[in-house]
């Protein structure tokens, strides 16, 4: 019997309609842990760099993490991996909700799709019974609507369904996969799903998930719950409210949006409105939110309440998480009421709540600059909100100018020309980022923005405060019970860090300290993404219940292996390096490793080069960001070195 994992993957060949249940090698789990780690290994082995995102040779992998479905609170993430049409690099988008545990209970760790279905289908997994079913009647249906239609059709109210909307069917580069109260939004995984002809995957499982050392595992899980309770009573003082607690930022709970509305940029990351948040706005937004929010809700086996059901009168109910309430609002320079309304339609279409509003704002800005012509925008209403609805409809249908915009700001700008590139100014590796533009270069964030393989800043950070605390008393108070640090030196970094003077950005944290901090933050995310743990209880918030010191015990008790901190660090370094090698093999170079040009007003090219050099060196890469043979051998991945040598990438 296998512990924690089921030991089986489902292999679906859509071109031939073939379904296989394949036993996996437990050694791979020890090497890569699971989830993202083993996904990366499969992609490395089976998807050579010539493969295009919309090729039948591209794989689309849905994976539960190693701890998914076990009692470990918050282990519910589904990791979706493929080649991104947006970046042409590895996409690993993730979603919470209920899909991953259900998949494990059905007896599978992963579903791996290859090929392309000649017609629209959905996959129905019911324990050992797996079938490819016709979905032609679901064509054009909303992503939320589809989930319910499939449950009714199967007469399985407990089935968990991951579905795409119209955007995915039409291969819109920002198409998401929606499921439960969650979605895998970033990097166009929904477009690949649509390209393969998959409308949805429904799963229902009633098998056991076993852990090797039950008493130990339960004690650890109980400790996590206890810690969550204690932490609830002790929010972190001196940081913005959404970061004071655990979970993903509590956007559905809080009303005070001063920080976001005054620090993030409106439009397509265009205007900072420093005095936006007035008493009147606060009162109006509070009312709006209270009126539409029915209930705060959770993902599987998690006490946090990061999402909400949203019912705007006259519009179908949907579920919202995190930040989408502001993305449409701010892109359109509108108000919260508009944000909640348009997000419902966007969710049914199945689009990424970060990229989509920015692409629409980009179009509006191009129109106002005369780059998009009247002909391009023919039929567009003249009112601001109407214009956004119109653009959304065109994009997901790929009609007219929408067909161009559906490729995201980077590719759309190239296609439009006439200076449109100037307006696509918020990308990293061809992908839209948070609309945050600041004053002074922050060395830690510079590294995370530049080098993050996820190409998604919001889930690379965490663990270390985003800004220094003003007084020494506050700093000392913060480090007092900071048990999560991997090493005491991190406390010292924080104690010294100041707003002004010698110990302030950009020269402090020092290059060395910045690399250490980034490595720690990144490591925690790589662990979570392999284990299927929600970042909201681990790598994202300050002082989380899961950390480098208790994770080895969780893994040991679950799997029945001996895992220690060094072993865990090695496995995550292996995963991080493998994804880097995969992307390097697809053409990623040092020249791509940079934040948007105008991200900080004050930049320091020499320091930035020094930071990159030091980071690469620390990781065991050459100064072009390519893993060296020596470091690959240390990680038992000589086969990667050989491949890169044959291709002339390692010289």
């Amino acid at each position: 019997m296998r512990y924690a994992e089921t030991g089986y993957n489902l292999e679906i060949d859509l071109s031939r309609g073939n379904i296989e249940r394949v036993e996996t090698d437990p050694k791979l789990t020890e090497h890569h842990l699971g989830g993202l780690g083993t996904n990366a290994k499969i992609l490395w082995d089976r998807v050579p760099p010539e493969v295009e995102p919309f090729s039948p040779e591209n794989l689309l992998i849905f994976s539960a993490g190693l701890l998914g479905g076990t009692p470990a609170p918050g282990a519910n993430r589904t990791i979706v991996s493929t080649i991104s049409p947006q970046t042409q690099l590895m996409a690993y988008s993730m979603m919470g909700g209920f899909f991953a545990p259900e998949l494990k209970y059905a007896g599978y760790d992963k579903v791996i799709f290859r090929g392309k279905s000649p017609k629209l289908i959905y996959l129905w997994i019911h324990n050992d019974k797996v079938e490819i079913r016709d979905a032609s009647h679901l064509q054009g249906k909303g992503a939320v609507e589809t989930q319910e239609l499939i449950r009714q059709e199967l007469n399985e109210p407990k089935a968990q369904v991951a579905a795409i909307g119209l955007a995915g069917e039409n291969r819109v580069y920002m198409a998401s996969i929606e499921q439960g109260r969650s979605s895998a939004s970033r990097l166009g995984v929904g477009a690949v799903m649509g390209d393969k002809g998959i409308k949805a995957i429904a799963v229902r499982g009633s098998k056991d998930i076993n852990v090797a050392r039950p008493a130990e595992f339960m004690e650890l899980s109980n400790e996590v719950l206890e810690y969550i309770k204690a932490r609830e009573e002790k929010p972190i003082p001196g940081v913005m409210p959404i970061l004071a607690g655990l979970g993903s930022p509590q956007e559905m709970k809080i009303h005070d949006e001063k920080w976001h509305t005054e620090n993030f940029n409106w439009g397509n990351s265009r205007t900072r409105r420093r005095d936006y948040w007035t008493k009147d706005v606060e009162e109006k937004w509070r009312k709006t939110q209270d009126n539409v929010r029915t209930r705060l809700i959770s993902c599987y086996n998690c006490p946090m309440k990061c999402g909400a059901t949203i019912s705007v009168p006259g519009i179908a109910t949907y579920m919202m998480k995190c930040f989408s309430k502001l993305t449409y609002t701010m892109a359109a320079y509108s108000d919260l009421d508009f944000g909640f309304k348009i997000a419902q339609r966007a969710t049914e279409y199945g689009v990424d709540g970060f990229s989509t509003p920015q692409v629409m704002a980009f179009a509006v800005e191009l129109q106002e600059a005369g780059i998009l012509t009247e002909e391009d925008m023919a039929g567009c209403p003249s009112d601001n909100e109407g214009r956004f609805y119109w653009l959304l409809d065109r994009i997901v249908r790929r009609e007219g100018i929408g067909d161009v915009l559906a490729n995201g700001t980077y590719w759309a700008a190239q296609q439009i020309g006439k200076g449109a590139e100037e307006y696509a100014h918020n990308n990293i590796k061809k992908h839209e980022q948070l609309p945050l533009k600041l004053g002074m270069l922050n060395p830690v964030y510079f590294l995370m923005y530049s080098t993050g393989e996820k190409i998604n800043i919001t889930q690379i950070e965490g663990q270390f405060p985003q800004a220094p605390f003003p007084t020494m008393e506050e700093r000392e108070e913060f480090v007092k019970d900071w048990i999560q640090v991997p090493d005491e030196k991190f406390k010292d970094y924080l104690l010294k860090w100041d707003f002004r003077g010698e110990y302030s950005n950009p020269y402090y944290p020092t290059v060395e300290a910045s690399v250490d901090i980034v490595d720690w933050q990144e490591k925690m995310h790589y662990i979570d993404d392999a284990l299927g743990m929600c970042a909201g209880l681990s790598s994202f918030p300050l002082k989380p219940p899961y950390h480098i010191h208790n994770y080895p015990a969780f893994i040991s008790a679950a799997l029945g292996v001996d895992m220690d901190e060094d072993g865990l660090s090695l496995a995550t370094k292996r995963n991080r390096t493998l994804i880097r090698a995969f992307n390097v093999r697809r053409g990623l170079t040092r020249a791509d490793e940079k934040p948007p040009e105008n991200h900080w007003k004050k930049r320091f090219p020499e320091l930035e080069a020094e930071l990159l050099d030091a980071y690469y060196k620390f990781k065991g890469w050459d100064n072009q960001g390519v893993p060296t043979r020596e470091s690959l051998e240390e990680l038992d991945m000589a086969y990667v070195a050989e491949d890169l040598e044959q291709r002339g990438i390692i010289k």
Binding site: G69, T70, P71, P73, F98, Y105, V144, E148, P157, G180, R181, G205, S206, K207, D208, I209, N210, V211, P214, A215, F217, M218, L225, I228, K229, T294, R295, L296, I297, S298, C299, Y300, N301, C302, P303, K305, T309, S311, A316, T317, Y318, M319
Partner: protein, 176 residues
């Protein structure tokens, strides 16, 4: 039969507080696994969450007495704009549905308030406080409670007939 004072153990359910996470189902199944906590599977749970988020139905129900026959209740109730089936509130394992049946054997499951624990574990794991444990004293008719095995046997007898059950047990004991 005489009247006696009895300690009644109950779980109070506050549906307004439920966040829909199903930790109650998971921990219940883990607690009742053999050996304890070695496996989990919400399908084996003695509590289940009726969860229809779009309709805002979040209803934890824990297993009560076994019912050998179907009842007449198939009505729909609308409470605060939310539609519930009559069965949604029912705590019985009955012939007409899969709820509260051991998935392998089909035998009925009943909440035992986690026997030797201070509180039922679903209550302990419900940080949303939708479930709270309550004890009260009540004067009740003295009755002989069926043990878990007796409940199981009774359901088998209902399903296959008592005589068939007796015959099977006799055959099995001869084989041994």
């Amino acid at each position: 039969m005489s009247k006696v004072m009895k300690k009644i153990k109950t779980i109070k359910v506050d549906v307004d507080k439920c966040n829909g996470c199903r930790a109650c189902e998971l921990i219940c199944s883990a607690y009742h696994a053999e050996p304890r906590y070695s496996s989990n599977n919400p399908e084996r749970s003695r509590i289940r969450l009726i969860r229809k988020p779009i309709e805002d139905v979040f209803l934890p129900v824990y297993a009560g007495e076994y019912a050998p026959a179907e009842c007449m209740g198939r009505d729909k109730y609308v409470i605060e704009g939310k539609e519930y089936g009559e069965c949604d509130f029912c705590r019985a394992s009955c012939p007409s549905r899969d709820a509260f049946k051991e998935p392998d054997s089909g035998l009925p499951l009943k909440c035992d308030m986690c026997e030797d624990e201070e509180e039922p574990l679903c209550v302990m794991w419900c940080l949303a406080e939708a479930l709270t444990y309550e004890e009260r004293e009540e004067e009740v008719e003295e009755e002989v409670m069926l043990s878990e095995m007796e409940t199981g046997l009774k359901s088998l007898a209902d399903k296959y007939g008592l005589q068939n059950l007796v015959d099977s047990v006799a055959r099995m004991s001869q084989k041994e």
